[in-house]
Amino acid sequence: MASTAGTQSAEGLLGAHDAHGPRPVKVRVPKRSASGELRAIKVVWQRELIRFSRDRLRIVTSLVQPFLFLFVLGTGLSHVAAAGTHGVNLKTFVYPGVLCIAVMFTAMFSAASLVWDREFGFLREMMVAPVKRSSLVLGKCFGGATVAGFQGLIVLFLAPLVGIPYGSWIPEVFAIQLALAFAITAFGVMVAARITQMQAFMALMQMVILPMYFLSGALYPVAGLPRWLEILNRVDPLTYAVDPIRRIIFAHLSISDAARRSLDPGVSWWGWHVPAGAEVAVIALLGTVMLSIAIFEFARAE
């Protein structure tokens, strides 16, 4: 039997040149290499971009939340808040938080697509590929960060509408948005490694993101809070994205010292005023930790 099979394949090999006019293209899959891993990261990243660009509805719907917070809440509450803002527009004040929420929702949806990928089988195609799982996870996180960054950029360019002129602050704030987007995607991917049902995943993400937003100081100054809220605020990672963004933006505004003191007091740990660089480092560190856990989880999965 074995010999028959052998002969058949040998004949097939010879016959191939005649049957298919142009020579059959023979491919050899190379050994695993760094450049191979880079190609894998790049293509997973590209897939995110292609899918995002196809999904116009998602681009629009994920802008709804930031617009609500900025224009509806910001405008509606501005009369109530006028007394306490020392002449600063409330929309200007909540803008840093809106910049964050804009990237957070998009990053979360990017990570959620992993749950779909599992359900629709595509995850299998990636998991059996001869590349490191870390490359797949990295590509996914870079992809999520990129599309979220794009959403963030749209909201960034609305700045003049809330009384903030364009300036050199834009690239600085954008860098923080990217770091936050990456961290949130990594968090989502980490969760998606374990949670296989979309409803559960979405419920969990909502349960995490909204409290993070309300505790972060996106809607109120972080000094002089009641003790319990102050503790929760300092524990909330989003605090360390909102605060430096507000600091960078306020530094470019001409407002009274009183307004600056009361609206942008900065985060302090046991009386120590945390510098913006350290705050961004907190975000970056958290992102790295969650990325590592996500990689570990996916490497372990069969």
């Binding site: 099979a5 052998g6 394949s9 049957a19 897939r47 899918r51 196809r54 195609e125 069969e302």
Partner: protein, 327 residues
């Protein structure tokens, strides 16, 4: 150039999920260039075996080599050398056919210069080159399966695994899928390993392993298997099956069983037996059918049940196994 090693070598391979033993110690070899089929009812352990060979499921015991590499310790080497077509689609419906293949080429590190010509070649092979720019979501089930076969071949694997490649497809699409598979043998130096529970499809294989309840029951060429049955199959319909069976035993010394609502038995030279049957059987016969042994009969003679009846029996067991896996 010529690699004498078998394409697949399996020794005492076991997979259990808790108490349920899905695969219970199987051994076989697949030669290079062969089309090798795993035949058996759903729940027989075919998919579990194929998943172990594809490095997707870790064996509980035994060893398996694919293209000369161990599926546990040399997982990447195995992956580089195999192509996979699963039962369920693993395409990204939001990408075009071409984008799906390009993504695969990048993941497998297909040399950049070879990507475009190879993509065209495999897509032409399955007749989808004209549709390369369409979103996969707009494809029919048959087109998706063809695209998956093209993708599985893109990196010129040494072994192509097809898990139930035609399940859920209409007969016309099934036959076209088989045409591609046969053409493949002519144009590529490839070993094909497939599972199926369609008897007629197993006939296309060079060799078949019949699997039931986690074990390989018999392994040979389709011709040899059919010859081993050694008699024709007679199927009669009567009003009282148990009475017919006992009468057959007493008068003709023939062992018959009931399967799919009829009395079935095997006798040498069935055409000559039927006239005797009509003359001597007391039970009125409503219908009669004589056939040359098929793989159905092979399955029946080795397992004592037809493949369809076996599936009904197995479904309970399968539910149990599925529950274990989910845990």
């Amino acid at each position: 150039m010529f690699d004498p090693a078998p394409a697949v070598t399996v020794n005492d391979l076991v997979k259990s999920y808790g108490e349920v033993e899905a695969v219970r110690g199987i051994d076989f070899e697949v030669q290079r260039g062969e089309t090798f089929g795993f035949l058996g009812p759903n729940g027989a352990g075919k998919s579990t075996t194929i998943n172990m060979l594809c490095t997707l499921v870790r064996p509980s015991g035994g060893e398996a080599l694919v293209a000369g590499h161990d599926v546990v310790s040399e997982r990447d080497e195995v992956r580089r050398n195999i192509g996979l077509v699963f039962q369920d689609t693993t395409l990204d419906g939001y990408l075009t056919a071409e984008q799906n293949l390009r993504l695969h080429a990048e993941l497998y590190g297909v040399p950049r210069k070879a990507v475009a010509p190879r993509m065209q070649q495999v897509m032409e092979m399955v007749g989808l080159w004209e549709r390369r720019g369409s979103l996969v979501n707009t494809f029919s089930g048959g087109m998706k399966r063809r695209l998956e076969i093209a993708r599985g071949l893109l990196h010129s694997p040494r072994v192509l695994f097809l898990d139930e490649p035609t399940v859920g497809l209409d007969p016309q699409t099934r036959s076209s899928i088989w045409r591609y598979i046969r053409e493949l043998k002519a144009s590529e130096d490839i070993t094909i390993f497939l599972t199926t529970h369609y008897m007629d499809e197993a006939e296309y294989c060079d060799r078949i392993a019949i699997m039931d309840q986690g074990k390989i029951i018999v392994l040979d060429t389709p011709e040899a298997l059919k010859a081993s049955v050694g008699h024709d199959r007679v199927r009669i319909e009567t009003d009282d099956e148990p009475a017919t069976i006992s009468e057959l035993r007493e008068r003709f010394n023939v062992d018959a069983t009931i399967a799919e609502g009829a009395v079935i038995f095997g006798v040498p030279e069935g055409e000559h037996f039927v006239p005797r049957l009509f003359a001597e059987l007391d039970q009125p016969i409503r219908a009669v059918n004589v056939s040359r042994p098929s793989l159905d009969d092979v399955f029946m003679s080795y397992t004592g049940t037809t493949i369809r009846d076996a599936e009904t029996d197995n479904s309970d067991q399968r539910r149990k196994a599925a529950q274990m896996m989910r845990r």
